[in-house]
Amino acid sequence: MAAVEAPAAELGLAPARRPWGRKLALYVPAGLVAFVLAGCFLGPLVLPIPAPVGGDVLESALPAFSPGHLLGTDPNGNDILSRILYGGRASLLVTIAVNLIGLFVGGLLGALSGYVGGALDTVIMRVLDVLIAFPSLVLTLAVAQSLGPSLTNTILALAFFSIPAFARVSRAATLGLRELPFMTAAQLCGTPWWRVLLRHVAPNIGPQLITFSMLGMGIVIIIEGALSFLGLGIPAPDPSWGNMVAQGQASLSATPDMVVWPSLALFVSVLAFNLLGEALRTQGSVR
């Protein structure tokens, strides 16, 4: 229901109580997200940093702020900053892909299920119930193991659990739209079902799904990290935040830095996405 109210009505007519606080709550996390994305995707191209793999063993385990290695190096002599940026690239790539797959496939399934209803709704929702009954990480582990560790397979494994989540949200939002006058009008005009879905349902449930995907980003980053941490995500020599934490765990008491830096990167990115999602949820037309 809330999705159909124009955002302007809520933002413009109701006097904002703390306009500055509200703006900050939206722009600070948005800036942080932009910073993380730029750092990981543009950083390695612009900054003068070494490659994330194939480091010199003579330079192994340097402390932070060593010349040429701002955050030091790992036991294999690889630059940690470089590994964090390239690792973030892998983590974010997986996360964005998983959320896009969830958004489109799950969103479509849910909207179809909610709009068409009847037997189709029952079948789709029962199948999704089975997927939701699974503890997602357990399922993802099983899928990741059976497909073998790689970037694409990590995406596929995680998509398995993002699709049902998006489908549920999308179905609930579509059900709220179904009886509204503009939907009836579209049907009376003889609009085919696929056109109703694309032109009338999708624009209305879109904002809600996008907000949901912001909150989902944080969750997927953490789960991707868990998969890589367990050795079932991004395979070892290539960096990812999860496998860097796992690598650092081995020498936790001697060189805690190795765990601290990737953990910090993980925390900041997840926090940025969570805060952004939260700000969108409370400030947009979406509740």
Binding site: D129, A133, F134, L137, G248, L252, F267
Partner: protein, 337 residues
């Protein structure tokens, strides 16, 4: 009117079995069966995608194709997947989950011991997180946008952004390495030494409980504030002159507790997921550790059994959530609203 009279004069069993709550429970129990079947089919299908099977894995890379085929035949892996599934399902229904390909042990027996260990860990984490979340959320909702509210919301958003495995390592670093007050590894069975057992559970349970605590606090606080601001019965209670704490506890919290129960039930799969990782970090011999080991050795029957147990627990938890609902909420108990 007639309905109410009818109900009063019905016999006890008729009242029990005919009650809306009972019908709802029955319906949910019946619905759980196809879900469980679906879960087992899906597990079987996913695990059969594995490129190298258990025979290959056991014999190593140098094994000749003949040796592999012989072992496959011995393990029954050469039969079609569908007939293997029904064989397995037939056994599973009677409690026989087969023997591990790798260790030769009885799978059901192995699961039993480990299930209690995992249950202790998740139980402790769950109790701690809910027991802390309720008072914090109540205090925060007492004055929305007050100092306590802001601080607690900041803490819970930050806490939600910490991965449990990262938190676990930080806890180990601080409490086991720096200050050496709590053990990081070395599980002691409860029956052997309860104190050591609980001391060993502190760090892993905390690592699991903190993100949950943050999630529950945020949810409950939001729900309480919604109740306090928008509901007529709150206005009525306030107009009657009931004190603010009474309104919060007796009226708002009572209603919000249903939402909390649902969230706790739904969130159980996340709880189980983090248990798998945390068990492997702290070397706790629970179900999650067993599953990870079995995944690495491609011990299909053990992985399958673990996944099924996890799924059964999740489905049961959702069922219990619904049951609690029926017991606690008069609207469902009496079938109105």
């Amino acid at each position: 009117m007639t309905v109410a009279l009818d109900r009063r004069y019905r016999s006890v069993p008729a009242r029990l079995f005919g009650s809306p709550a009972f019908r709802m429970v029955g319906k949910r129990l019946l619905m759980a069966i196809p879900i469980m079947l679906g879960v087992s089919v899906l597990t079987f299908w996913v695990l059969n995608l594995i490129p190298g099977n258990a025979a290959q894995q056991l014999l190593g890379a140098e094994a000749t194709p003949e040796q592999i085929r012989a072992l496959e035949a011995q393990m029954g892996l050469n039969e079609p997947a569908v007939s293997r599934y029904f064989d397995w399902l037939g056994g599973a229904v009677t409690g026989d989950l087969g023997r591990s390909f790798v260790s030769g042990q009885d799978v059901a027996g192995q699961l039993g011991e480990r299930l209690t260990v995992s249950a202790e860990l998740t139980g402790l984490a769950l109790i701690a997180s809910v027991a802390l979340a309720v008072p914090v959320a109540l205090l925060a909702a007492r004055r929305p946008d007050g100092l306590f509210d802001r601080v607690s919301m900041f803490v819970s958003v930050s806490g939600l952004s910490v991965a449990s495995y990262v938190l676990a390592l930080v806890l180990v670093l601080v409490f086991a390495v720096r200050f050496a007050v709590l053990p990081a590894i070395g599980y002691v069975p409860f029956a052997e030494d309860p104190v050591e057992n609980l001391r060993g559970m502190v760090l892993p349970a905390t690592a699991i409980a903190v993100p949950l605590f943050c999630f529950y606090t945020r949810f409950l606080r939001g729900d309480l504030v919604d109740q306090l601001q928008g509901q007529d019965y709150i206005v009525t209670a306030q107009a009657k002159g009931i004190g603010p704490w009474q309104v919060l506890l007796r009226h708002a919290f009572r209603n919000s507790s249903f939402g909390l129960i649902t969230v706790v039930g739904l969130n159980l799969s996340t709880l189980i997921g983090s248990t798998v990782i945390i068990e492997s970090i702290f070397a706790i011999p629970g179900l999650g550790q067993l599953m990870l080991q079995a995944i690495n050795t491609r011990d299909v029957l053990v992985v399958q059994a673990c996944v099924i147990v996890f799924a059964v627990v999740t489905v049961l938890a959702n069922l219990i959530t619904d049951l609690l609902y029926a017991v606690l909420d008069p609207r469902i108990r009496y079938g109105s609203g």
